[in-house]
Symmetry: C2
Subunit: 196 residues, 2 copies
DNA sequence: CTCAGTTTTCAGACATTCCTGAAAATAGAG
DNA sequence: CTCTATTTTCAGGAATGTCTGAAAACTGAG
């Protein structure tokens, strides 16, 4: 690996993490190198810095492009393709979350929708469906929340994140004002009784 | 696989998703079966329903326990171990997020902290460190937010999620009130200039 | 068109992960 | 303690995933 020590440490770590993130080691390393690079790099730069084969770089870049995590950027007077990661780290995280949602959440959501439309054949299936319904409602709630938040501009997002649970204080106050004597709170989401 | 069609469809899907979630197919399937089961199941129930080897079930359960995703529950008059998933789906999601954070975020956070304390040897390393600093700040912001939110009780959490970006409206109003003539908004987080 | 520079594809070598059956370890009953 | 039911470990075969070099495909210049 042809990189100064600090860079190499980062790249190696990202490579290892890659496997926990649904991409292989090489793909993680390629991303890491691009992320810390001062300028856009071409495939051969990556071959040189990582000491891996040209074809491996090609496949890695293809995968990163399918994740929208790297951008191809033309360089005047050079026929080769050059690649960068976006400068804005917030946009990177947005992309990452969107792509993971697409791969990890959306397929499950449509599977759940499909199975919830079916008629259960017996008590076992009926109970299963009740559980799926809980799961479906929760995922819907989370994805609706994210779809809403995702539209915020970065500045507002930072403000909101910095507030943390302080925003919940507002709700507490609201609840205290509107609470009816003897009124019940919202019930937790569950169609299933506790299992003995 | 010894399950009614609807259950089987769910279990197969969860198995496939498992690989995108950092566990293998079998572990995903075991979890799915436990999730929709009406009662706690013992290892042999899983062998029967999934048609996999006893030892594979043992390893899978061990992994799920290391994720805190299944609970061992004694059954009176039976020496065997029985397993369930929690009934409360919110607690399941909390556990899942906590465990993924532990595996996917925390190691990166400490790696970044370590590398940010080092002295860069040259311009390349200096630029790399600036990028790492951006990444570190963002991850700190997100994890601090999550640590804060995670403490909320389920009811409040649901309220907050349902509000979505409406909470941001409050900030907008606040900003409008306190805005000074000619005053600038918060700057986006970046220690790096744009790359040409 | 031809040609050189560049990227992509892909068969198969190599590496890793997964799964099983057999054997060992564990735990409770008697 | 012994005996039996149960769980865990683990070597190695099966299945997947990764990486490479060679060849094919593409692309723009001349």
């Amino acid at each position: 690996m042809n990189l100064p020590p600090l860079c190499e440490a980062f790249v190696l770590h990202f490579g290892e993490m890659g496997s926990r993130w649904g991409v292989n080691r090489t793909v993680g390393q390629i991303y890491a190198v691009l992320f810390i690079a001062e300028t856009a790099l071409c495939a051969d730069d990556l071959v040189d810095r990582l000491g891996i084969s040209r074809s491996n770089v090609s496949m890695g870049l293809k995968e990163l492009q399918s994740w929208n995590l790297v951008r191809q950027r033309p360089v005047a007077g050079d026929r080769r393709d050059f690649f960068t990661t976006p400068d804005d780290i917030y946009s990177i995280v947005r992309t990452l979350v969107n792509e993971r949602k697409k791969r990890e959440i959306d397929p499950t959501l449509s599977m759940l929708r499909e199975l919830l439309m079916q008629t259960p054949a017996n008590a076992q299936e009926q109970h299963a469906q009740a559980r799926l319904k809980d799961m479906h409602e929760l995922i819907e709630l989370l994805t609706a929340w994210y779809a809403d938040i995702e539209k915020l501009e970065t500045d507002r997002l930072i403000q909101l994140l910095s507030l943390g649970s302080k925003v919940a204080k507002i709700l507490e106050v609201k609840d205290r004002i509107f609470a009816l004597p003897g009124g019940k709170g919202r019930q937790p989401l569950s169609s299933t009784p506790n299992r003995g």
